[in-house]
């Protein structure tokens, strides 16, 4: 990337050319068909690596290192002059690949935005400003009079998030709060009358949001073009490549139970004890205890059970058996059965909903009376310890788990629990409660029943 910069000699000292493209328009250069595919696969490796890192709950600095390694490893090119082209070509090829369904678009958007943000932070201050200008953002730095009048408040925010106090020459931008949702959500900015005051090191949030929303719109358009003309025109050339590319790299979504036959209601107790991850075990036990779960718990456990192989009729029977000890059968049919059928795609939008992944569960916000969420994240120390020892995790392993929890590696904590309970290693790590279940079953079931 350095080479690109030296090749295009800046016209004057002020002009800085960022190495980070905004991918506004598709490249108008010729691409060899094999490069088309190879470049895309290389970029996909980067995005997939980022996705794995995020779902493992890696911390900010670790992600930074990971992104750097991934980029340097995969996005090289023997000819230095081609590096920038490879970047742009691979991005546009993947747009074609990932424009085709809501799910694919969402994943691609998140990963490209994460990558963009990382690369933006690597740019010099001048290059960052140049990129901001390219986005054509109308926001000006806060003037000195306004800055002085707000300095106390801005300082208060800095101290609340452990940042150094703003100096007299610090640059703040005043932007509509809608532009920086993540800074608002984390209370990382001062808000006044609808404006957020963002520090220069927070600009990445602003441009990241812009990048994301541009890309989101572009993907919709690409999808339209793809379905209306390109797919047909390219059916002998690009279409097969594009269609093969997306499936190969996304993990299973566990919407259909795989590998194991259906389970029946009578087995659930036994399976819960042997093969449910703590989050599901806890919900299951609370359900048995209270004969009730609130909405979030019903969703988390219900979809998990669906992924495990509980058929709709059995699911209705299972939930009804529990709930009817507290509410009348009639009320169950009226208020709760709908939700269960909904989960199985038999009501409402008729979408066959997929079980929640660890990432989704970790990010959930259980409230009063709720039992869903990730125990490693949402339990207090004592409750988690008690729950772990109840699962039969020995005290030394409990300490290892707690250590991961303290460092906010919730999925690693779950992986260690898995290993302790099964006395076997789990190299892939736990990314999904249903994966925990199927890995557990693989270990527990006699080899003969597997194919």
């Amino acid at each position: 990337m350095e080479t690109v910069r030296t090749q295009r000699k800046p016209l004057s000292k002020e002009v800085v050319v960022p190495t980070l493209p905004l991918y506004r328009s598709p490249p108008s250069l010729e691409v060899r068909l094999e490069d088309f595919e190879l470049f895309a696969i290389d970029r996909l490796r980067v995005l997939k690596g980022i996705s794995d890192g995020l779902s493992r709950g890696k911390k900010h600095e670790e992600m930074e290192q990971l992104e750097k390694d991934l980029w340097n490893k995969n996005m090289r090119h023997p000819q230095a002059s081609e590096i920038a082209n490879k970047d742009i070509i691979s991005h546009f090829v993947l747009r074609l690949v990932y424009c085709r369904t809501e799910e694919l678009r969402k994943w691609f958007l998140s990963m490209e935005t994460a990558l963009f943000r990382y690369r933006f932070r690597q740019e010099s201050a001048e290059a960052q400003r140049a990129l901001m200008a390219e986005f054509d953002l109308p926001y000006k730095a806060v003037g000195s009079a306004e800055f002085e009048s707000l300095r106390d408040k801005l300082g208060q925010v800095s101290r609340s998030i452990g940042q150094p106090l703003p100096t007299a020459d610090a640059i703040f931008y005043k932007v509509p709060f809608e532009e920086v949702p993540e800074l608002v959500a984390g209370r990382r900015v001062f808000l006044h009358k609808g404006h957020a005051y963002i520090a220069s090191n927070q600009v990445v949030s602003l441009v990241g949001t812009q990048f994301r929303s541009h890309l989101s719109k572009a993907l919709i358009l690409t999808n339209r073009k793809w379905t209306s003309t390109v797919r047909e025109q390219e059916k002998d050339r690009l279409t097969p490549i594009v269609e093969a590319l997306c499936t190969s790299y996304l993990g299973p979504d566990y919407s259909q139970p795989k590998g194991f036959a259906e389970i029946s209601v009578k087995d659930i107790n036994e399976l819960a004890r042997s093969s449910f991850p703590l989050c599901m075990r806890h919900l299951f036990e609370k359900l048995k205890e209270d004969h009730h779960l609130k909405h979030g718990g019903r969703m988390q456990l219900g979809l998990f059970l669906k992924g495990v192989g509980l058929k709709l009729d059995d699911a209705l029977m299972f939930w009804k058996a529990e709930f009817s000890q507290k509410v009348s059968a009639e009320r169950f049919d009226k208020e709760y059965a709908y939700g269960i059928r909904h989960n199985y795609g038999r009501e409402g939008k008729r979408t066959d909903y997929t079980p929640y992944s660890c990432q989704k569960i970790i990010l959930s916000t259980p409230g009063v009376g709720d039992h869903h969420g990730c125990p490693y994240r949402h339990f207090s120390d004592e409750n988690l310890r008690a729950a772990l020892s109840k699962m039969g995790v020995n005290s030394r392993a409990v300490e290892d788990v707690m250590d991961k929890v303290r460092n906010r590696h919730y999925q690693l904590a779950c992986t260690l629990t898995f290993e302790a309970v099964h006395a076997s290693s789990c190299d892939s790590g736990i990314n999904h409660p249903n994966q925990y279940f199927s890995d557990s079953q693989k270990l527990l079931q006699p080899k003969s029943t597997q194919f």
Partner: protein, 454 residues
């Protein structure tokens, strides 16, 4: 994906304690005939239509005539039949349908891209045309979420001792919506039993994306209570964010010390003070306090001020010079936040497609009307004196002799609520809607002119 469920599937507690009144000609509870009368004579159909039209029912060429017709209403009928995706093209259509179906509950959903009653016709195209495009930013605060910090009532009940928790919520959220987020058109409504609803109706609030809504909800999300963690509030960092600092000094601390401390007797029994001591992560401190309070059992101090005495002791202990230990610094604030800070139903605010009960509905269990609450006077609001369907009809009956048609509202105690709704909320809102419609029309006109001359 949860929308169907959350409309009415939230866990309703069984209510008891319907108030007995003497000499009341109309019995309490919900009676279809009374409801019919209410919808016929008192319910402000036209105002609801005006509001939900946001100025688009005018004659200005910039008005979007399809706007009101794309709004989802849903009705819960007598026998628990739930009608979703109802839509109406005019005030009279809305009024006629309400009068005819006589719903026990009316919920309001988002404005969709197309008429929600025709959504199936668009479903075939597969291109997801049917999607919410506008929705007020809404908040739902329910007293049942506070059951661990109120000792006077539980579940569905509320009384004047715990209602201040709602007052606090209104004050904290209302101030932040106005001062921090710059919203102006905010309606607070009593939910009819044990909570409050908030509707933020500014144009830019209605057009927020789900992500932006979630960001606002998270900005307000301090109380992280779930059943499996003792510490519900944790304030870290060297300072409090200005929003939290302001909420603390202007509202929370004051309400905690002057109201809740004594009205809820937060320190009066061992069980209660132990709950507070649990929040202090320092064994030696807590055992010292515990010692003091256990010995103190038969002391002279009257029962009345035992709560404030113990609170002062705790504060002195935590804030005295020698206790500048990390982690204890914010303990006093954390305790106050735990007992007072608003607890929002996050999911309601985060998504556009959540339904919320319409103002001026009759609560099916209490018979109370969901009247607006003036945030500037919210301390005066008394949920136990809110008009009920029964009292309103009684008032109507009493004035039965002097029949003046337009006067019916004024004869009842609902009149005041409706006047407040119009003057403090609806009129200013419609004024700004009109301005917005005009100015966006003019910009559009200007733009097309420019492109023509060019």
């Amino acid at each position: 994906m949860k929308k169907e469920e959350n409309g009415n599937g939230r866990d309703e507690m069984v209510i008891d304690g319907s108030e007995e009144r003497e000499g009341n000609a109309v019995p309490e509870g919900l009676n279809v005939n009374y409801l019919k009368l209410y919808y016929g004579k008192l319910f402000p159909h036209a105002d609801i239509h005006k509001w939900m039209s946001y100025g688009n029912d005018g004659k200005h060429p910039g008005c979007d005539q399809s706007y009101f017709g794309r709004r989802e209403f849903s009705f819960t009928l007598d026998n628990d039949i739930y009608l979703r995706f109802q839509s109406f093209n005019s005030a009279s259509e809305l009024e006629n349908s309400i009068k005819e179906k006589c719903p026990f509950k009316i919920d309001i959903g988002p404005v969709y891209s197309v008429d929600p009653s025709k959504r199936h016709a668009y479903a075939q195209t597969g291109d997801n045309v049917f999607t919410p495009v506008e929705r007020e930013l809404i908040f739902d605060i329910d007293m049942t979420d506070y059951d661990d910090v109120r000792y006077c009532c539980a579940g569905a009940d509320v009384c004047l001792d715990c209602w201040p928790l709602m007052t606090i919520a209104i004050k904290v959220i209302d101030t932040a919506l106005r001062d921090d987020f710059g919203f102006n058109h905010i309606l607070w409504v009593y939910s009819g039993r044990r909570g409050v609803h908030c509707w933020v109706c500014d144009g830019k609030a209605r057009r927020l994306t789900n992500e932006q809504r979630a960001a606002i909800a998270d900005y307000f999300h301090v109380y992280k209570g779930n059943e499996n963690s003792q510490k519900k509030v944790s304030l870290t960092g060297a300072a409090l964010h200005p929003f939290l600092a302001r909420s603390y000094t202007e509202v929370l601390r004051n309400f905690f010390e002057t109201k809740l401390l004594s009205s809820q007797n937060l320190f009066s029994t061992e069980e209660r003070y132990e709950k507070i001591l649990d929040m202090i992560p320092d064994e030696s401190l807590t055992s010292e306090l515990r010692g003091k309070w256990q010995d103190n059992k038969r002391s002279t101090s009257s029962k009345k001020d035992i709560d404030s005495i113990r609170w002062e002791q705790l504060k002195t202990m935590l804030q005295s010079g020698k206790q500048k230990v990390q982690g204890l610094r914010r303990c006093v604030e954390e305790i106050v936040f735990s007992f007072t800070y608003p607890r929002l139903d996050m999911e309601v605010s985060k998504h556009m497609n959540h339904l919320l009960k319409a103002p001026f509905c009759v609560h099916p269990k209490t018979g109370r009307i969901c009247v607006p609450i003036d945030p500037n006077e919210c301390e005066e609001f008394n949920p136990t004196t809110v008009p009920t369907l029964a009292t309103l009809l009684e008032e109507l009956n009493m004035g039965g002799v002097r029949q003046e048609v337009n006067d019916e509202l004024d004869r009842t105690s609902l009149g005041e609520s409706i006047r407040f709704f119009r003057s403090s909320f609806l009129q200013p809102l419609l004024k700004s809607c009109k301005e917005e419609i005009e100015s966006s029309y003019n910009t559009k006109l200007q733009r097309s002119k420019n492109s023509l001359t060019w």
